[in-house]
Amino acid sequence: MEKLIIEAGRQERHYWRDLWRYRELFYFLAWRDILVRYKQTVVGVAWSLLRPFLSMVVFTVVFGNLADMPSNGVPYPLLVFAGMLPWQFFSNAFSDAGNSLVGNSNLISKVYFPRLIIPAGSVVVGFVDFLISGVLLAGMMLWFGFAPDWRILSLPLFLLIAIATSLGTGFLLAALTVKYRDFRFIVPFIVQFGLYVSPVGFSSSVVPEKYRLLYSINPMVGVIDGFRWALLRGQCDFHLPGFFVSLGVTMVTLLTGVWYFRRVEKTFADVI
């Protein structure tokens, strides 16, 4: 028979085991969000293709044609889309995760489960969208006759970093939003701002060499550069020191996110 001790301020010893035990709930919540996401829309799942595609067209026209930014010989739409893909994943996951706890407040105040499940579920939903848009990228590569080489094998690594970044920032934001609803207003701003700060519409090689490290503090810089390197046959310069800076920031964000989340998790039901 299992034994459970509840005490004030007690760190759950079995938290991670519980998290594993509740994995089915995690699947179910993610499954629910995916099912519900495009209910009662006319276009349905096509939205996850349409949104990145339209943004890609706009960015190609603005940055590629009007601003005439360099693309290292890669078709500009491909350059944009290889960056758009991880960015959209991150921004969707980040903003959905931020609202996820508040959106599920009825669950939080009535049922116990490790709360990390909820924002993590939002990241999964973003990931499914990401996979669907990935099909579009494959189609575009066929269209432009641009086949990736062996470097594509490193893509899972960068994907993992993108997931870690989304989880870390998502946990942090979700926990903060429970107490400070101000973040609901801050998030759209961060997402919009981040789109222009991150190298989505342009290659990060346009950033002067001496600012590259500073620029890489944005963890999405490492992720997007990595995606381009892996997908576009390395035809965009991959700044290794910058990548490690981004990776470091991601790790710190993830750890901080989990730590803060765990710290305030038990007060959610009282505050929400």
Partner: protein, 423 residues
Amino acid sequence: MGDIAIKVEGLSKRYVLNHQRASGDGLRHILQEKLTSPFRGFSKKEQVSSNPGVSNSEEFWALKDVSFDIKQGDVVGIIGRNGAGKSTLLKILSRITEPTSGRISIEGRVASLLEVGTGFHPELTGRENIFLNGAILGMKRVEIQSKFDEIVGFAEIDRFLDTPVKRYSSGMYVRLAFAVSAHLETDILIVDEVLAVGDVQFQKKCLGKMQDVSTRGRTVLFVSHNMEAIQRLCKTCKLLENGSMRLEGPSTDVLRKYLELSSTAAKQATFGAKGAQYEIKIRVFDATGKPTRIWRYDESLEIRVCINARVPIDEPVVDITFYDARRIRLIALEGAKFINCPRSVSGEWDAIFVIENPGLTLEEIIIDVGVRTRGGVYFALLENAAMLSSDFSSVPQQASAGTLLFPHVTHRWEPTAKPRSNQ
């Protein structure tokens, strides 16, 4: 420790209430407050409790030093008024919120049902919601699959399995929700007031299911305002009052005590054009002449309406009306229908109604009092003048809830007797 399933020691829970804070816990507010940790600033709270009048936050102990043991296989009822701390206790036991101090040890897997249909999503179909809700309550997918047909049968919704639940009638919705919850299988089950769903027939079915559950050797903690259900399901009861354990013991004793405490004391009010010209009080006495708030099935009850008229009332008539908890009128006793009313009263008089065979079984009986002249001019109408509770242990087995006999009532007036004027 062997057969103890739940052991609670010195459990307390404190909430800090914030008053008049339009911006809530917004960032601006925190920035203004700066310095002190926004989460658990102990120094701040101590300061707060020392002068609650000045500060805009005060602390509130939802539970204070509660200790008890529950044996394995016991079915225990937890009762108490609203705000007594029942829900907080259940929330702590279900690990939804953390105690401020104290310790609980639990042996066995716990499932809690604090609400039916938690996490139901209106866009999903009945079938999908069964799986989702089951997972939320902690069931494994295979477990849900094996019980699926049983759940659907219990909820009586087979035809609508693949319809989104937003198209369900509210009855179907709660039936499905309860059905999923009712098929939870864990060592310990914590249930909060979830029986009051559906129509009468379905409620009976729910109660039957709960009885079923409770006889299978599982430990059940059951919070309800439905005294009849508690009486039927639970052998022992715990009574919470203002966050403390007030009484524990066999259900019959605890329930009786609870009824005595919970029925509201008689109300009194003053009326009249120029301040207190008339004063009206209502008091209820049992067969032995002691004040009571309990309505027993087989004992006479005396209701005294005391009128202190500083200005004489000619041809006074007192009416009393009985309502159930939903304020549906049950019986009206019109004083004018009785012959022995005085021509005029001034000073202190009692209008007395003696009900010989109450024979009414309801959770709550609410009494309104009206004072008027025979011609129909109302002096006073006292709503919810008293609230009485039925003592279900006095009800014979064959009489079911809601039974109503036609009571035999006598009515008389007499000047207020001295010893009773000061209760």
